[in-house]
Amino acid sequence: MITFILNNKTIKTSEHSGTTLLDFVRYQQRLTGTKIGCREGDCGACTLLVGTLSNDTVEYQSITSCISPLGNAHGKHIVTVEGTNLKDKLTTAQEAMNANYATQCGFCTPGFVVALTGFALSNSDKNYSNAIDAISGNICRCTGYKAIEKAAHQVVEKLENKTETTLEWLIENQFIPDYFESIPKRLNDIAAKDLNQPKGKYVSGGTDLYVQQADHLADNNVHLIAEKDYLKGISIENNICTIGTNATVSDLWNHTELNTILPNLRKYLKLVSSEQIRNMASLGGNLVNASPIGDMTIFFLALNSTITILNSEEKERTIALKNFYQGYKTYDLKDDELLKSIQFKLPTEHSFFNFEKVCKRTHLDIASVNTAIHISIENETISEAHVSIGGVAAIPKYLHDTSAFLIGKPLTSETILEANEILQKEIAPISDVRGTNDYKRLLGRQLFFAHFTALLPKQFTLNDFIPHA
């Protein structure tokens, strides 16, 4: 039985665990405040909160319920807009939307309200920028967002720049109804045991699988792995960072040490989908999706990562990520195997890492071209280089020749211009909905240059590569 708390009500259901949480909430429970906009996590109209018990508190994150399997709700507190409502008055987030004319047709509105409420409940600093990140996955076609920005300002103001909020304070200040106080104990009491799961398609966050094959997953056995502890966790030992493949993009975002090692990490990750999706999307899922343009794949290729693969007999093998991909959407993974973790050597004080991504819309979009670089400089000479690029080949591409060329070369604009010539030979973009072949080649060049102007702005400007600029 899938057991969880939905708003203020305990649910025990034997519904198929692969059905979407959205359908369960809307059509089984008739909570129609959760809207259907796109069913692919791209609009946020179905945003819900998922509360996970951690010690004696519950941590809340927002998700798009259209691409989330019902089974992932097991043992959690699921909150819909109805679950945030107070009797006969508006919550602080709702009032902020109302007072600032931030709702017109109203169809996207519950998603915004839930996301803003999630922001209030979350552990993130209560500043404006984080508030906007919280609603970055919500599309509004009516307001043009300026009114919503004002609403976000008002919510932040009411949160008084707190770094942490307590349930008590949030209830007192009318962000949430008072039943929230009982949730930690009730989740504890449920003590949800692991679901008894059949063999079936492995599903972690579901963010990609449910876009591609929601109907299939709702009709066939799925094997949910998001809660498997042995696939979780981020650890750093002996200059090696090991990340469980169940780690979400948000887990990376929230990891203090990782953010020290890669100071621009959040800037990069902000380009990777929306907060709702980052809260769900697993690293392993991004790797086995094998999209030639997978952001995290490109990211970890340049870190020269290795991946550890586990088979059904619990035997492990480790291979280089750059050798994992074999052709379009094919890779070195057998049917009974599962990605367990990814490992990479930490950047040093002599090395630089950068990630670039350009798409039609800067955020929550799929790249036309994305690329990453990790480069070590000693005595003005490149001692190590790893360059990856997506969107220009059948696989997420590790640029073997370009990387090899750079090693041992002086760090000059001539070297970089020459390297670009090699890069251009290594890539073979095709024209599609994300751009023409010519554009992707030009963009590949420009983003390669951008690595250097971004990492070493004192040494390189656009002028060094483009004579007339």
Binding site: D42, Y101, C108, V113, G144, E356, K360
Partner: protein, 776 residues
């Protein structure tokens, strides 16, 4: 709100806007919207035994149907029945203006996504599964995807239309400069967040009730009656509200409602049909792409003496609203400019795309993009700033539009000059120039975008509406009109009118759903005119009731009717509050058997248009404004941000400042989306490539301009507008056109060899290619 350095005028204006927003009425639906309690068609409680439907559509853009095998789909457990054209008891025809569009394909398919059959099953899931089991064989016929190809092959929807003024040919000969060119503006997906849908229920005696997410309930009713071959009175259409429309549900909400009703007709059970997003994107039409050519002639002092264009409208596979949209393109072909010699022509080209349809602006934006392109081209060639040509040609009082209407109460120069002064545009231009001088890898661009937009349905007979107002015996009020609430706040405006006339609190007023049994034979909620038309009717109904109530009060209080006013839920005599309250007055009226219901009909006066001469006075009035857009381009990556859009807008006397500002901001961002990131793509086989939200991008919260400032221009408003509060739905969309030209100016600042192209949208791809074209 951030303070502007050294611009006290602007600060004062912004403070005033901010104050008026605090006092302005909130959208009456906000309360249930934010709580998730508003009811859309997919939210209403469905009846037991309701079936769910999915549409089976053409997997080719053009061809002959050789074979369809439904047997496997029909055999699937849970499938109730599959309906095709053979099941249509009336006419298999849904075309609104021209009868050229079948509900279901018969022998041929004409666009990819054309409905062929309706699968009705116990669940949507089963119906979708059944759809996958249908086998179809289609013999390919040649596919046309662009307007140019259609023109070359002589494939048109109807006869071309042409407006002219003066003697264009002769005038070109007198010009000092003449430039020619081509432009393209792409389509635009509406992306209402609520997809199309309807719910049909069987009633007694073969009557059917349909809840539809439509802007045009009467069109739905009429079409169902035609397809089922039954009388209109047997069909009741109810609209609770729309989760966005933008024109996409003016005509194209109809087929889904008709299909649901058809299935209900046969099965005598309720049927729900809600399109999923992919189906909606694939099957429905969008804003029309236009391929146009222009010729513009100017004198030495930059006066536009002659202008000639040919618009090729990509209408898609059937007429839908294309002829009306084409017409509005001609009406707005000269935007805010007085051009004495004009010849414009539009050809509605028949292609194998889904029939394109209404979208906020209704052909106006496409027309304006061309003249703005022509002016930009001329400015570039002559070597003057674009705004000099724009400014030299702005409309003046008593200028004549190409369609014969004389411009009155013109605010073109007023909004332009106000924008220049309030925003200190000279300083802005200096800042941009200084930035560009000092930055090699980032460039800024600035543009001016004036707008002039005519208000009224250009088809004069459509400019009417009715309101049905009940005062209940406890003094509460219920109002029904033809207005469909889709986020534009029209219900709030109706409520304001009644609250104002009756002088009762808004809590005593309810705006009912839009329903064809209460208000019949209506025009769609479109053309920015919904509040004007329905508001005027509401005002008339409320006033009539007040007159009757005054008679009652004069008898009760034994005073003269003319001394009576209604104020604060009481009756005032000569400005003094009497003992008679609103509620008591209503009770008294009941006892006296006075009618407390009024039905008023409003038809816009003065307007007319003669299509045989293409001259007349089609618009009740025009809306004016000027926007100044500033952008910054990252010349390394080709990405861009909008620093600010500063607007002076002609609201007239806005009756709901918060709601109206929301319309301006929302339309602006939609216009910017159309001009920048929203890129519809079909392949040469006519298959939609931008077929999901992952491939069709609309603005998100990060991509909107950092600052949007909208200052109202102080005008008297217009008597033809409801309470002098001018229509606001569509006009501001065209401010977004400024985004294209701001980007173009920034590219020019980086790449002097850039060849000006007028090919919207200006995606990051086009920006990067422009930055580096003709360079080494």
């Amino acid at each position: 709100m951030h303070k502007n350095k050294e611009n006290k005028v602007l600060d004062i204006k912004l403070d005033a806007v901010s104050k008026s927003l605090k006092q302005s009425i909130k959208n009456l639906d906000s309360y249930t919207h934010v709580r998730g309690e508003s009811l859309y068609v997919d939210d209403i409680n469905i009846r037991q035994g309701t079936f769910h439907a999915v549409v089976f559509d053409a997997p080719k853009a053009h061809g002959k149907i050789k074979r369809i095998d439904y047997s496997k789909a029909e055999a699937l457990e849970g499938v109730e029945r599959i309906f095709t054209y053979k099941d249509v008891p009336g006419e298999n025809e849904i075309g609104g203006i021209i009868p050229d569009e079948p509900l279901f394909a018969e022998a041929e398919v004409h666009f990819w996504g054309m409905p062929i059959a309706l699968i009705v099953a116990e669940s949507e899931f089963i119906a979708r599964k059944a759809r996958g089991l249908i086998e179809i064989e289609i013999e390919d016929l040649p596919v046309i995807t662009t307007a140019k190809e259609a023109k070359a092959k002589g494939s048109f929807i109807n006869a071309p239309r042409s407006f002219s003024l003066g003697d264009t040919e002769k005038a070109f000969a007198d010009c000092d400069y003449v430039f020619k060119g081509e432009t393209f503006s792409n389509g635009q997906e509406h992306l209402y967040i609520e997809a199309q849908g309807a719910y049909a229920e069987p009633m007694e005696n073969g009557n059917i009730k349909v809840t539809s997410s439509t802007q045009g309930p009467t069109a739905v009713q009429k079409t169902i009656a035609k397809v089922l071959g039954i009388a209109m009175h047997k069909i009741e259409v109810d609209v609770t509200r729309l989760g966005g429309g933008f024109g996409g549900k003016e005509d194209q909400a109809t087929p889904w409602a008709v299909m649901a009703a058809l299935a209900t007709y046969h099965l005598n059970q309720s049927v729900k049909l809600i399109l999923n997003r992919h189906d909606d994107l694939r099957m429905t039409g969008k804003r029309h792409p236009y391929e146009s050519t222009y010729k513009i002639g100017l004198t030495k002092d930059l006066k536009i003496l002659a202008y000639q264009t040919e618009f090729l409208q990509n209408s898609g596979a059937a007429a839908d609203l294309s002829p009306a949209i084409a017409e509005r393109t001609l009406f707005h072909a000269t935007n805010s400019y007085c051009v004495p010699n004009v010849t414009t022509k539009v050809l509605s080209c028949k292609t194998n795309l889904p029939p394109n349809t209404a979208f906020r602006g209704f052909g106006g934006p496409q027309g304006m993009f061309v003249i703005e392109s022509a002016i930009a081209k001329a400015a570039h060639e002559i070597g003057v700033p674009t705004r000099k040509i724009q400014e030299a040609n702005l409309l003046d009082e008593n200028d004549t539009f190409s369609y014969g209407q004389i411009a009155k109460k013109v605010e073109a120069k007023n909004t332009w000059d106000s924008a220049k002064n309030i925003f200190n545009t000279e300083a802005l231009e200096r800042e941009v120039a200084a930035f560009n001088k000092n930055n090699a890898s980032f460039k800024k661009g600035l543009s001016f975008m004036p707008i002039t937009f005519g208000i009224s349905f250009t088809n004069t007979p459509m400019n009417h509406a009715r309101a049905l107002v009940h005062i209940y015996l406890d003094g509460s009020v219920g109002i029904s009109t033809a207005a469909v609430e889709m986020g534009q706040g029209v219900n709030t405006k109706m409520m304001q009118i009644a609250a104002d006339v009756f002088s009762i609190p808004i809590e005593k007023i309810k705006i009912e759903t839009t329903n064809t049994t209460r208000v019949a034979n209506t025009s769609p909620s479109a053309a920015s005119s919904t509040a004007d038309l329905n508001g005027k009717a509401t005002l008339m109904a409320c006033n009539a009731l007040v007159e009757r109530l005054k008679t009652v009060a004069s008898e009760d209080l034994n005073v003269s009717e003319k001394d009576i006013t209604l104020k604060e839920e009481a009756i005032f005599v000569n400005g003094k509050k009497s003992e008679l309250s609103w509620t008591n007055l209503i009770s008294s009226a009941m006892l006296k058997r006075v009618a407390l219901t009024e039905n008023a009909h409003y038809a816009t006066p003065e307007i007319h248009f003669d299509k045989t001469k293409e001259k007349g006075h089609p618009f009740a009035y025009h809306v004016y404004g000027t926007a100044i857009t500033t952008t910054t381009i990252d010349c390394t990556r080709g990405t861009y941000e909008f620093d600010s859009v500063k607007i002076v807008h002609d609201y007239g006397k806005s009756m709901s400042e918060g709601i109206d500002l929301g319309q301006v901001e929302g339309a602006l961002i939609q216009g910017i989306g159309w001009m920048t990131m929203e890129e519809i793509a079909y392949n040469k086989d006519g298959r939609l490539l931008s077929n999901a939200l992952s491939t069709y991008k609309v603005p998100d919260i990060f991509s909107v301009p950092k600052t949007v400032e909208v200052i109202p221009v102080e005008t008297e408003g217009n008597e033809m507008a409801i309470l002098k509060s001018k229509a606001v739905g569509e006009p501001p969309l065209m401010y977004g056109i400024g985004a294209y030209f701001a980007l173009q100016n920034a590219i020019k600042a980086f790449n002097p060899n850039y060849d000006l192209q007028f090919h919207a949208p200006m995606t990051p791809e086009k920006v990067l290619m422009g930055l580096y074209e003709n360079t080494k």
